[in-house]
Amino acid sequence: MTDWEPKIVAFLCNWCSYGGADLAGVSRMQYPANIRVIRVPCSGRVNPKFILAAFRHGADGVWVSGCHPGDCHYIEGNLYARRKFTLLNNLLEHTGIEPGRLHFSWISSAEATKFAETAKQVVDAVKKAGPAQHFIKKQAEVA
Amino acid sequence: MNNPYLPYPVKIDSVVTETEDRNLKTFKLVFLNPDDEAGFNYTPGQFAELSIAGLGEIPIGIATSPTEKGYIMFTVNKVGKVTNHLHNMQAGEIMGVRGPLGNWYPWDVLEGKNVVIIGGGFAFTTLRSSIVYMLDSANRSRFGDITVVYGARSPGLLLYKEELAAWEQRDDINMHITVDGTDDPNWKYNIGFVPAITKEKAPSSENAYAIVCGPPIMIKFTLPVLTDLGFPAERIITSLEMRMKCGIGICGRCNIGTEYVCKDGPVFTLEQLSRLPNEY
């Protein structure tokens, strides 16, 4: 498993974090290539079902990132999202998902450095957690 | 043991977009194994389960007639998961067909009778099968007059347009093609709803059976017209739709009262339906 590289699904909000990723790219900043970006209109758009779907399809980690609280393009979408993800994260960990699989961040479109750094942190954390064992459906366990 | 759930592998031979809204496509399928084709003996009015591995199955009426050899044809409306995927499939791709399933129009009873076929929209598939079957030179003499009323919302939504035009030219079939409305100045057929055109053309009920397939609203307004024309309930035949899975009367979901639409149907006479709960 030494050459194992984690797969990480990142849901980035269109107005901030996606812009941050874009800027990081344009600025030629280096960050690990383990991240698959899905652009969403707002972090509030990310339904918990999406996160579970990512895990079920074999993601080793999921990262959701949006605008800083107060800067949401839709005024308050990320503030609702914050509560939603807090509860989701707690319940996932409560039911046995290891800490370090699910990540949240606030990154503005100007924070390219923060994006690259957070990406590194996320990848490191997921690497530490190892390949995902739970929620992945490999084959139905049926008769 | 012969497994009735196992589809025969088939290859898509061609795909034809039937209607201007691009929601209906006709798929011509050929069997990969000749034995399967030999075993696929069907009669107009039957249906089959089209199977796409990874997505599921859909029950679709067989649009070809058994007199057309070497292939089978299905016209599919794009509505759900399987049909959307099917619409994106290309000639040459592999899928599955399971059947033939269900009962068929009562050809032994129709022999020697006049047949009035009334169809609306994309419910014309097994009616096409029936018309081709009856017009086949080996069969034509077995039936009396054939009258067809077929309508769609607009000319672009009619199925099998070339064949319709060819049938129009023949003198052994009375074709009444109609559309609900059109702004096409070259439209040379009827304009009006199917029930109204049926009333206008007034096919005789003398020694005749009517086969009616179409959207519920069309059927609802056509039935009284047929009754007025003197068709008794036992000589009005229709084909029902129902959510199906197994297609062989085992999985239990498509029943109307005691009858499984997939196995005991889909073809029923109005008289049979009147004895069943109104739940379809």
């Binding site: - | 591995a53 592999i94 062989i248 029943n255 005691t258």
Partner: protein
């Protein structure tokens, strides 16, 4: 048919013996409830049970069952072609099944085995199985097998009947298959005196305890449509929450769904228990749903069991009276009560 007697101490030995030649399934206490499962050792068998929470239908028609498998690999000539999957059809014995639950298989046979189509999995499991039933000496208050065409000592679907006589079991062969099984057994004793009489007395007392709880004869005369339109369904359906408990616990509810699942580049077609209680059961692709209301779904379940099935096959009802739905319906809808309502609505008021 022959009879043997097995004392209770000797039963484990007999079970061991059977396990040597067959896969033996029997009631095992799992957590709070008994459940039919493969015996790993004879001591797991627990015949001191009323009945299992789930009916043993899963032994023949599992909740989720792989039907076919396929590959979707690009370039593979078999891509998209469904293939059968191997199944274990080695001979097996179901030990301790209640007569009512076994009778259910006979009713289900009519659905799975028809002249035109035969369900291969059901057929092969049925053929490879010997049913050794355990007579019900002490039926529950919710049991009504005698009203449903079966009974506490019903042998109609069994190969062997076991009767618990306190110190031991009386084994009665019912079919040729059962006869063979008993012939192969070592350890049976000749039947002590009075045992046959004792079993007959137990049968009589169990049947008397059950009595006849409803009579559906009037329903036979009434037309399907009239019953369908009867007003009492409104009252019956109110409390229903449209969960699938009744259908999933029922030994004669066989309805299933077929689903395809894909895992990367391969997949499977699976069949899964379905329930007429679920709106999705009848929802057309185009959005129309013939059973879009709770009332229609509740009515379908009872009509199917008590009217459609008897009419279709010109025989008894599609219910064996095991009482599981009565016991475990979360809102206490009682099929016996519904049967009475159906029968009453058929009595001519004059």
């Amino acid at each position: 048919m022959s009879e043997t007697y097995v004392s209770k101490e000797k039963l484990p030995g007999i079970v061991e013996q059977l396990m040597g030649t067959h896969r033996v399934f029997g009631p095992i206490l799992k957590g709070q409830y008994h459940q039919f499962a493969l015996l790993e050792e004879s001591a797991d068998l627990d015949l001191a049970f009323r009945n299992t929470r789930l009916s043993p239908k899963a032994l023949f028609h599992p909740h989720s069952e792989r039907m076919f498998e396929f590959t979707l690999e690009k370039g593979n000539p078999d891509a998209g072609i469904l293939k059968e999957v191997p199944k274990d059809y080695r001979s097996r014995i179901v030990l301790g099944i209640r007569p009512c639950d076994a009778y259910a298989f006979k009713l289900d046979d009519r659905n799975f085995i028809t002249d035109q189509f035969k369900d291969p999995w059901w057929v092969q499991r049925r053929e490879s199985t010997t049913l050794v039933g355990l007579a019900c000496n002490d039926p529950c208050s919710t049991c009504f097998c005698t009203s449903a065409g079966s009974g506490p000592f019903d042998t109609s679907s069994l190969d062997v009947l076991l009767v618990d006589l306190g110190e031991g079991y009386l084994l009665q062969a019912v079919t040729h298959k059962g006869e063979q099984l008993m012939g192969d057994l070592a350890g049976g004793e000749s039947v002590p005196e009075h045992c046959t009489e004792q079993a007959a007395a137990l049968k009589q007392s169990a049947e008397a305890q059950l009595g006849i709880q409803f009579n559906l004869d009037p329903v036979k005369q009434k037309s399907m449509v009239e019953l369908f339109d009867a007003p009492f369904w409104e009252d019956v359906q109110f409390s229903c929450i449209n969960c699938g408990t009744c259908t999933f616990l029922c030994p004669t509810c066989w309805c299933f769904d077929i689903q395809d699942e894909v895992y990367q580049s391969r997949g499977e077609r699976i069949r899964i228990w379905d329930s007429c209680m679920f709106p999705l059961f009848t929802l057309h692709g185009a959005g129309h749903n013939p059973r879009d209301q709770k009332l229609k779904r509740v009515r379908q379940r009872f009509m199917h069991k008590l009217k459609y099935y008897p009419d279709k096959y010109a025989d008894g009802i599609a219910c064996v009276g095991c009482g599981r739905c009565v016991q475990h319906c979360p809102v206490n809808i009682d099929i016996r009560q519904v049967a009475r309502l159906m029968a009453e609505s058929c009595v001519c008021p004059v």
